[in-house]
Symmetry: C2
Subunit: 353 residues, 2 copies
């Protein structure tokens, strides 16, 4: 049998590329499949720039396949060519805002794409999976901190979150029906920051939707100021509180999860969910002021009306991941702000040259 | 513009074929797309036997396209060829039992198939849809009778039910995002019986899963006796209570819904759910004794253990459909039993000759 690989779907994206880097550092071999819908392809070949940089940073190589999860034949060819031990399924559309406008694209990419992936995995006997889930599956928190036992799917705030919930439901049924499946669903809170080198990072197309890329684009002068949605929430300073997690912590969480997952014996039909967050929440204004202080820049902002569907506060319980995966976040807001800014200043146009 | 058609997906099946018949009787023109996975194709051509019989009974013709909802190109060609005013989306795998064994096939057929259909409809500007939903979306009833406001998706008893719930969620988002969509989701309780002619009816592959086809197969000697799952539920006689509805009533409910739906103006983004049931529950033993009396046959049964996931009783509130669709069920258990038996005795091997 040839050497085992971890397959990362959507591995050229923000989360996927950082996971690829960390997995390579941990000695895993990595295949990436990505449709590059949101990824810059450098110059002559078709490997996305993000992965070329990961190769440079690690001095290791990544196998890359360009392809979409809608194409089951292409997907099958990956499993035929490589000995895949485990799949890390990051591929998804991820804009909350966009998901309101084009929900069918979200369901098609995120749900149909997942069903296709699981079907192909099943037919090749590959049944260990890490799923990129999201704290949005919890909907409006009934209690804080959010534990993995918090109900899911009730009042999911947006179609994007619902796609993540639906895929979790599908995975639960899959693990009940076929005991060879072992699935960890990693529920991300708010991943921000970048690799400390500043060579890879978040490269949103168009105007970003998430706080940190907006902050860095304001800091560099691409955007004028930040709209802060509401300042009368019941939080420390009235602005929304979220559990931001450094992308390097998040990626290490994946490596930890994969190591435990690979040791799981088949025949138990395991579906487990783990929160990946720091366990503490920060407000929008705290993030802005930390960014200003750490990076000695000024971030103009203005308070505007609340957005429908936004919750006041969301942060997670971290005990389960600590206990069962032996992982916890190490970095705080300062490192998140510093590394995000290094990435932005080294790459004012993202991956584009 | 050429004359308008109602497109019925899965139109060769039990519910689809009876809907086709009733819609033809109401003067609609009908196109059916069906993959015939569960339908007998008579002799030389590819039109399923059920639809040939509908044509004979109505003296009208049905346009038929063989195809699966996984094939978007084929689906698109139907919208290109015919002027579709409204889609009745019946196509789905429907065995609760099987859905536990092969959930991915259920998600792929029922969820991916629906996403494909909605995408193709959207691209052809056809945005009126009747969805074949199910009372299983309600899960374990929190109160009876089940109104359309009862929570859905919580503790859905099985993957089949979850596929119906997921598609409803997708449709809600679709109607929120694009105000031209008008969707009625018809939540079927337990459709049984057959057209009174006995020429069309339910023709399950293999050993049937539902009570009525089991009763008729016991009556005709194909099966020895009925397993009754539990007789200590908190019901009239301890056996499970369900809201059985005559298939002809159900089909009339579709005709009523389509007439109202076609009058809905675009630009409201309407998603409405309607229960289709009689509003009163019958126990397994009541159904058996009614069948025996009406048809003068003996139905041996034995009490066996309860099945996981079965609820004691389920029946619906019928007011909403009566008020807004002007429809209510007319037939009782006696007609259901009589017509099911006529179908079975006239067609001991189902549609197969």
């Amino acid at each position: 049998m040839s050497k085992p690989y971890i397959l990362i779907t959507g591995g050229a994206g923000f989360i996927g590329s950082h996971c690829a880097l960390v997995l390579l550092e941990h000695g895993f071999d990595v295949v990436v499949i990505d449709n590059c819908s949101n990824a810059y392809l450098g110059s002559s070949d078709s490997k996305p720039e993000s992965l070329k940089r990961v190769e440079k940073l690690t001095n290791k190589s990544i196998e890359f396949v360009k392809g979409d999860l809608s194409d089951c034949d292409n997907l099958g060819s990956v499993f035929k060519k490589f000995n895949i031990s485990c799949v890390l399924h990051c591929a998804a559309l991820k804009s909350v805002k966009e998901s309101w406008d084009i929900p069918l694209s979200y369901y098609s990419n995120n749900v149909t794409g997942s069903i296709n992936l699981f079907s192909v995995m099943s037919s090749y006997g590959v049944k260990k999976l890490i799923f990129s889930s999201s704290s949005t599956v919890y909907g409006d928190p009934q209690f804080l901190p959010l534990t993995e036992e918090h109900p899911t799917g009730q009042n999911c705030a947006n179609p994007y979150g619902r796609t993540k919930f639906l895929v979790e439901e599908i995975l639960k049924d899959l693990c009940r029906s076929d005991k060879d499946w072992c699935v960890y669903s990693l529920r991300y809170f708010n991943p921000v920051g970048a690799h400390p080198s500043g060579d890879i990072g978040e490269d949103p197309l168009g105007i970003p939707n998430n706080l940190m890329p907006i902050i860095t684009q304001v800091a560099i002068g691409k955007l004028k100021s930040i709209d802060v949605y509401g300042n009368d929430y019941d939080t420390v300073d009235g602005t929304g509180v979220r559990d931001y997690i450094h992308i390097m912590d998040l990626a290490e969480g994946h490596a930890a999860a994969i190591k435990v997952l690979l040791k799981e014996k088949g025949n138990a039909g395991i579906f487990k969910a783990y929160n990946l967050g720091t366990g503490s929440g920060s407000s929008v204004l705290q993030m802005i002021s930390t960014f200003e202080k750490v990076n000695s820049v000024k971030i103009p902002y203005k308070i505007v009306g609340k957005r429908a569907g936004d919750v006041a506060a969301s942060y997670c319980a971290v005990q389960l991941a600590k206990k069962e995966l032996g992982w916890q976040a190490k970095y705080g807001l300062a490192e998140m702000c510093k590394d995000a800014w290094t990435w932005q200043t080294k790459n004012p146009k993202g991956y584009q040259k």
